[in-house]
């Protein structure tokens, strides 16, 4: 059934039920065979439609050309500089968002009064697409790393805030009463009861936020010309270097997969000890 974090994500989205995230790591040998075959078939299909001219090679460089270009790029220093610049924007943005959203979420989550007072502003700001802020950033922070970090942090802030609020709010009342009758003071209750029980929610928020932060770091680079993979994609398009365009897009996709896998692993780790997991995982 639902992991607590995802339930909160669903509740934050206004209802609906989320089961444990789809986990489809192949386990048996036949499953690995299907996995490999499936990827192989897709790549072969790509090669075929490009080589046979269903889509001209000018518009869609063949799979082998694109991967060859990617292989050439990964041997250059410029590629890794851009790659690390994107990772830096992502990491700083996520860090800033976490540093702000988690304490604020704890504050708003522990006090019904505060949560009520800020409900409307949060509900209004949350759905605003961060991309709409790009023109404003051009004029204020300029085409600098600061803009990239701000955009990534702004996007990552909301899912983290909402998840933390739900997590702290959703603490087991009996555990809280027990802590109180043991004479734990306010701080100890927060540190020893509320925070540990909110960790799975925060981990889910972190998984969602890390994807969002990458998208926005890349967006800032693409639209504002801040150095990184996004800027490379923009150059490749401007100069009509289609091979590079596809190679950089492939690389960006792999970075996305990498970040998704890492944050999912952290989330599972954070959820492992949680009672809901022990009860529902056979």
């Amino acid at each position: 059934m639902a992991t607590p974090g995802d339930a909160a994500a669903a509740a934050a989205a206004g209802g609906g039920v989320r089961r444990a995230p789809l986990r489809l790591a192949p386990r048996r040998l036949t499953e690995w065979a299907v996995f490999v075959l499936s990827i192989g078939a897709a790549l072969a299909f790509w090669e075929l439609i490009s080589r046979t001219g269903v889509i001209s090679q000018k518009d869609l460089p063949s799979m082998s050309t694109s991967f060859h270009e990617l292989w050439r790029l990964v041997q250059t220093g410029a590629f890794w500089t851009a790659f690390l610049q994107t990772v830096r924007g992502w990491a700083l943005g996520l860090a800033v968002a976490t540093a702000l959203a988690v304490p604020l979420g704890i504050l708003l989550g522990s006090s019904e009064f505060a949560a009520g007072a800020f409900r409307v502003p949060i509900e209004f700001l949350r759905p605003i697409p961060s991309a709409a802020l790009i023109p404003l950033l051009f004029l204020t922070l300029g085409t600098t790393l600061k803009s990239e970090v701000f955009l990534a942090a702004f996007g990552a802030f909301w899912p983290l805030l909402v998840q933390t609020m739900y997590g702290v709010h959703d603490v087991d009342p009996i555990a809280l009463d027990t802590a109180r009758s043991f004479g734990l003071n306010r701080f100890d209750r927060l540190w020893r009861v509320k925070l540990p029980s909110a960790v799975p929610y925060i981990a889910t928020g972190l998984r969602i936020a890390s994807t969002v932060a990458l998208i926005l770091a890349f967006t800032a680079e693409l639209f504002m010309g801040i150095p990184g993979l996004g800027q490379k994609v923009n150059f490749a398009q401007a100069f009509g270097l289609d091979d590079q365009l596809y190679a950089y897009a492939l690389a960006t996709g792999f970075l996305g997969v990498l970040i998704h896998l890492a944050s999912s692993a952290i989330e599972r780790r954070a959820l492992r000890w949680h009672p809901s997991q022990r009860l529902t995982q056979p």
Binding site: A2, A7, A11, A13, G14, G15, G16, V17, R18, R19, L22, L24, P26, V34, S38, I39, A42, I55, D59, F113, G116, A117, V120, P121, F124, L125, P127, I128, P129, S130, A131, A132, L133, I134, P135, L136, F138, L139, T211, L214, I215, F218, T219, L222, F223, L229, G230, V233, N234, A236, Q237, D242, L245, Y248, A249, T252, G253, G256, V257, H260
Partner: protein, 262 residues
Amino acid sequence: MSRRTYTTLKIGAEIAVPIAILFAWQAWSANAHDPKFPRLSTILVEFKDMWLFSQFGTHVVPSLERIAAGYALAVVVGIAVGIPIGLSRWARLWAMPHIEYWRAMPPPALLPISIVLLHSIGNVQKISFIAFFCLFPVLLNTIDGVRGIDPTFMETARSYGLGWWETIRRVVLPASSPQIAAGMRNSLSLAVIMMVLSEYFSSTSGVGYVLLISKNTFQLAPMWAAILLIGVLGYVLNLLFGLAERRVLAWHRGWRAGFEAA
């Protein structure tokens, strides 16, 4: 403090805080004299002049059409493809590597490619772009919802001799609909973002286009009005979806309330 005073205070705060924030913004922007941050009142007047309704037809309607078409496409394809994948373990194994790769791809990375590939900076490219990235929340939630259907339901359907179409219509779709709705809601907020991105990159009309042009020409009040409109758009669409969902899933809410309380 009595319970009633507390409740009154809380509701008061819920109303007062947003108003206080707006006032603070107005007061700050009036004193800042910074052309980058026009007064809130100036922005609101500009908002009224632009969007109610002189430029509504030329720019808001095209954006809304793109959102509607892209979103509708994503929902139909997501559900149609998600059901068979959800029902079959082998289909899941086959499809998941691709779904996992494409949904981890930051959408703007495909923006230039979509233009090269589709030879278009018009509606074809915009709608395809919106549809492609709105697909994943619907698709993943459909797969997950279908996968999680109580096997008893499916066995009951089989023992009643329901054909595959009837089984999907009467069992699979209703049983997974709450989760499909959750996916559709995420997709809808995504649709607004994708609309802005695609119009911001290359276009001749739309809200994203207005945003880009007003920035490039340093027309700051219109720029702020466009940002505000995008915010309002996201908020209103989310609100409308909530209302529609409540109606369509009314039969389901009791059970869900029980689930969430648990």
